[in-house]
């Protein structure tokens, strides 16, 4: 194919419309397009995605390709790989950016294998050095990073961690929207989607909560979760949980915050004994104020905390409750 030019971004549309990670990719895609030269093209796969395509077209893209097909109503790896392979052939970009969501992380490697291209996962920063793409990605649970340098002709592919860049804003201009038809064969449609189940939240929803106190594996035992409940009561907050403790059966799934749980944006979010894995952070980084209590000074949660306490939660939490009650008295 030869070395390509420009940047191709894949936008993602979920049940609630365009996922915000798509707009973050427009921001970094724009700056990479400027550094490397060439256009910023966005492909929007899905079913009934015209509205999402318009948002993208108004947020700084040079060109938008829409693949609107009812067989793309729910994500499957096979169909998405076929669609994006087609879009790559159509645009021959220097680099391809894919949201680091469960879907993006699912089909990007398959696509990279089909096209025999290099792929960097879950990147938190992207830059151009000597004309080549350089990506920074966290490893070992997020405390450590590595820098990936792409070689050869590309296109170079990166999945990008949600929340790593600002969201692109409307520019006042509208890019051209072109409809693209992709042939999908039986081989692309081997997985049949039956339905998507939504958790019964028992009427309680965290997404509107003003204050949340969430607990993680640092609580050690289900019984000790009463510390989280007590702190929540003192702060007049709702209780949330990390996936680790939901998987362990300590807490119901509707309390889970994160990529595969609730996305919350309270005024105050207190994380107790939660390490701050990316899948947790994407669900709560929209909080106005984040308080973290963790004994590991390198825990990733401290990077986004507005106020952090490095210490043993079994000592710190009771002291905080006492202090709050004293302040109220």
């Amino acid at each position: 194919m030869g070395k390509g030019t420009g940047i191709l971004v894949v936008a993602e549309v979920g049940e609630d419309g365009l996922r915000t990670g798509s707009l973050e990719l427009l921001t970094v895609g724009r700056s990479l397009a400027e550094a490397m030269g060439g256009e910023l093209t966005v492909v929007v796969p899905g079913a009934e995605v015209v509205e999402a395509a318009r948002t993208v077209a108004a947020s700084g893209a040079d060109r938008v390709l829409v693949v609107d097909d009812e067989r793309l109503a729910s994500f499957t790896s096979g169909a998405w790989t076929a669609v994006v392979v087609h879009a790559v052939a159509e645009t021959n970009p220097a680099a391809l950016l894919i949201p680091g969501t469960t879907s993006g992380r699912d089909y990007a490697p398959r696509l990279a294998a089909r096209l025999r291209l290099g792929l960097a996962a879950d990147c938190v920063d992207l830059a151009v050095e000597d004309g080549a793409l350089v990506a920074t990605r966290p490893i070992l649970g997020g405390r450590v990073q590595t820098v990936v340098r792409f070689e050869g002709d590309g296109p170079w592919i990166a999945t990008v961690r949600p929340g790593s860049f600002e969201r692109a804003k409307p520019t006042g201009e509208e890019a051209e929207i072109v409809s693209l038809t992709v042939e999908l064969g039986d081989d692309d449609l081997k997985v049949r989607v039956v339905e998507t189940l939504h958790e019964d939240t028992g009427g309680k929803r965290l997404d509107n909560a003003e204050r949340i106190v969430a607990g993680g594996r640092g609580l050690k035992e289900p019984d000790r979760f009463n510390l989280v409940e007590d702190l929540a009561r003192a702060l007049n907050a709702s209780v949330g949980a990390s996936r680790a403790v939901v998987d362990a059966g300590w807490r119901p799934h509707h309390e889970q915050v994160g990529q595969t749980g609730q996305t919350v944006a309270p005024r105050l979010y207190v994380a107790v004994g939660i390490s701050g894995a990316v899948q947790h952070l994407v669900g709560m980084q929209g909080a106005d104020y984040i308080v973290a209590i963790n004994r590991d000074p390198d825990a990733p949660i401290f990077k986004i905390a507005s106020f952090g306490i490095v210490g043993d939660l079994f000592e710190v939490v009771p002291a905080v409750i006492e202090e709050i009650n004293a302040a109220r008295a």
């Binding site: 699912d106 939504h198 106020f307 490095v310 710190v316 109220r328």
Partner: protein
């Protein structure tokens, strides 16, 4: 049913410490089976219990991976293939997949299982890349597997909820937390493991130029924007937090 489980040996994440002087993590502690891979082993054993058949585990790496293989055999896996590779983290995932696919292909599996991603490099690339090279479908974030002999109903975690899909064999499944509770090896299992066959294979690394390279792990500059209280008594930390909460009008 022919079941193949891919496992990786990684540093125990609980032993990884950061050396403040060098800014580098210490990775020479105890080595264990990567956590999601334990769910994959358990899933393989349960499939065998339901549908009969054979479970083979494949692990590539330095001689120490023998311990990871022994653990899988002790959990109940029937046999293993050990692929000699000085360091599985020195080659990119696609190259590794090209090496592994040769051994997987020989076994003609109905179901291939991997973990969602490894504990150390966390790319999550290997499963989809193997499936692509094998020409079979894959499913990631798998939290439930039901089904008959050739058709499965699988649940996977997504941002929108649990996606329920049906798919026929052969296929590749990537195990996620919540899928099962991995069993611990029994004493009897550990004894039996010693007698189970482990085939030794040397990998033929392809000579194609790599498409990427990466740096040694390093600890990023702290970009903390908030206040962090460290090294003080719990009561003092609590007082500072409450003062701060009041300042932000949160109390």
């Amino acid at each position: 049913m022919r079941i193949v489980v891919l496992i990786k040996q990684v540093p125990d994440m609980n032993t990884v410490k950061i050396d403040r002087a060098t800014g580098k993590p210490t990775l020479d502690g105890q080595r264990v089976v990567s956590s999601f891979d334990e769910y994959a082993i358990e899933a393989g054993l349960r499939l065998k219990e339901q549908h009969e058949g054979e479970v083979t585990v494949i692990c590539a790496g330095p001689p120490s991976v023998k311990d990871a293989i022994t653990r899988a055999l002790a959990m109940g896996v029937d046999n293993a293939v050990q692929i000699a590779l000085p360091n599985a983290n020195d080659i990119d995932t696609l190259t590794l997949a090209t090496v592994l696919v040769v051994e997987i292909g020989k076994l003609e599996p109905d179901v291939v299982l991997t973990g969602q991603n490894s504990d150390d490099y966390q790319t999550g690339h290997l499963g989809p890349q193997l499936a692509e090279l094998l020409g079979i479908p894959h499913l990631s974030s798998v939290t439930r597997i039901d089904g008959g002999d050739s058709e499965f109903s699988v649940q996977r975690d997504t941002e929108d909820g649990k996606q329920v899909v049906t798919v026929s064999t052969p296929l590749l499944l990537m195990a996620m937390t919540g899928l099962n509770e991995p069993r611990l090896p029994s004493i009897k299992g550990m004894m039996a493991a010693k007698r189970k066959p482990v085939e030794q294979v040397t990998a033929d690394l392809p000579s194609a130029a790599p498409s990427l390279s990466w740096s040694e792990p390093f600890v990023p500059e702290r970009t903390v924007t908030g206040t962090v209280v460290q090294g003080v008594a719990a009561s003092e930390a609590a007082t500072q937090l409450v003062t701060w909460l009041k300042e932000q009008k949160l109390l």
